[in-house]
């Protein structure tokens, strides 16, 4: 995500050379993910939460639910809001302040995956059509940046949503009355993102920080549980050929199945 031109030329060359012979600096194959660790329900105050560790990359996602107004064009549906914070403690390149374009892009890629796959049954979150609906806040909190924040955030967001509990309620004269007990947030789809880096005209899956710093371009594809494409984003200063895009799509198909199993069973 963060573009830093300050990687030693020697290292740049070494990374590119290794990749052209099918190897990587950290010992992985070109289409291997780093080890994924996932914990859910770690923040009691949040309605749902999860932490994903992807190698040394660490992302936490918390969800909160509030009552708010629906969008006028969909008066019968709840509202989904995704926000990402590149917290300064996560990397020397992150600065405090309002969200920059990197954090906005990250949030919007995660948002598109969840929204376009219709992962949350938003139509079940309407309290009073046109007036009151539930607003689901998904807050992505990056705790340690070692590359591929997109996939880690997408996984953590899905895990947090699957872990989200809503309080039971009934509506009495337009007022919401909280009843005892909780029900899980209705989730019908499981979008998972796979990110590629193009280095020296070769594709690698799950780039770590040093690979991101030397990559020409980045490509993310999000697939839902039926293997349908629901979001795509190209990033970085380079380009892709159509053959590379199609190759990436094929690899992503296999990768998302493994990742999805990991997230959904947690």
């Amino acid at each position: 995500m963060t573009f830093s031109p300050t990687v030693a030329r020697v290292k740049q060359k070494r990374i590119a050379e290794l990749i052209s012979s099918g190897k990587r600096l950290d010992g992985r194959g070109l289409t291997d993910y780093r080890e994924v660790e996932l914990e859910a329900g770690i923040i009691e105050r949040a309605e749902g939460s999860a932490r994903v560790r992807l190698g040394k990359t660490e992302v936490m996602v918390g969800t909160k639910i509030e009552v708010g107004e629906p969008f006028p064009d969909v008066p019968n549906e709840g509202v989904l809001t995704v926000n990402a914070e590149l917290v300064p403690l996560a990397s020397p390149t992150f600065e405090p302040g309002p969200p920059d374009e990197n954090s906005i892009e990250l949030a919007r890629i995660v948002d598109r995956g969840i929204r376009e796959s219709k992962a949350i049954e938003l139509e079940k979150l309407c309290i009073e059509p046109g007036k009151k609906v539930f607003v689901i806040f998904v807050d992505v909190y990056v705790l340690n940046h070692d590359g591929n924040l997109i996939d880690a955030s997408a996984m953590a967001a899905l895990a947090a949503l699957l872990n989200t509990k809503m309080f039971n309620y009934e509506v009495e004269k337009g007022e919401i009355k909280v009843k005892p007990g909780y029900t899980p947030l209705p989730i019908r789809n499981h979008p998972v993102a796979v990110t590629f880096a193009k280095i020296d005209d070769k594709l690698v899956v799950d780039p770590w920080l040093e690979e991101e710093q030397v990559m020409d371009a980045r490509f993310t594809i999000t697939l839902d549980k039926d293997g349908k494409v629901c979001a795509v984003q190209k990033g970085g200063y380079g380009y892709f050929t159509i053959q590379q895009i199609l190759e990436a799509t094929k690899i992503a198909r296999e990768k998302t199945e493994d990742l999805r199993k990991l997230v959904v069973k947690s």
Partner: protein
Amino acid sequence: MAQRKLEKLIDKNDVRIDGRKLNELRPVKIEVGILGNADGSAYIEQGKNKILAAVYGPKEVHPRHLALPDRAVLRCRYHMAPFSVEERKSPAPSRREMELSKVIREALEPSVFVEYYPRTSVDIFIEVLQADGGTRCAGITAASLALADAGIPMRDLVVACAAGKVEGRLVLDLTDLEDKGGEADVPLAFMPNLNAITLLQMDGSLAIDEFEKLINLALDGCRHLYTLQKETLKSKYVAVKEAVEE
């Protein structure tokens, strides 16, 4: 909105709501060199879209610490005028505009020889005066011409076009109505001479083979727009040549 949903966007003869065929672009009008102060500028009308692009640079970078020792920094601002859409849009940059500014910059950068102008900046401004779907693509097509008009050395022109899925059918160059009522949208930017895709986004729901078909459809649209883009650029110099000869 509810009434709109009842309208069919494509009839049974595969004619779209604005009378186009499935693989037909909207009427396009492009002009270059239309702003007095900018080093390069272009204006594009694609259907109801009306978009201005201007380029300033290479010039000294402000603030200075952003300058890079080995290349120019390319900066881009995509912005929509408050009156460009149905309901007034606040002029403050939205999250969408921030994201688009980033992806447009990354779509144009592969075409520019940034290493020729170290410690400088090239600033690109895209103002959407009227929007009707596909503004990021039309903006890229215009901005690339503005860069060429500014005389900045480039590997190729960047041309952009979207394809999408509407009512189960794959269509080229979606209007706002088709985008909102459709199932998926795939904006794409392309450098035809280098066979390089420099922007690719997608939202919606598509089978993998549909995704592939839409990329190819958008590429066809790009190739068509590319000839228009080149003609526009040439015609400016033809006009100058004629004026000199008179």
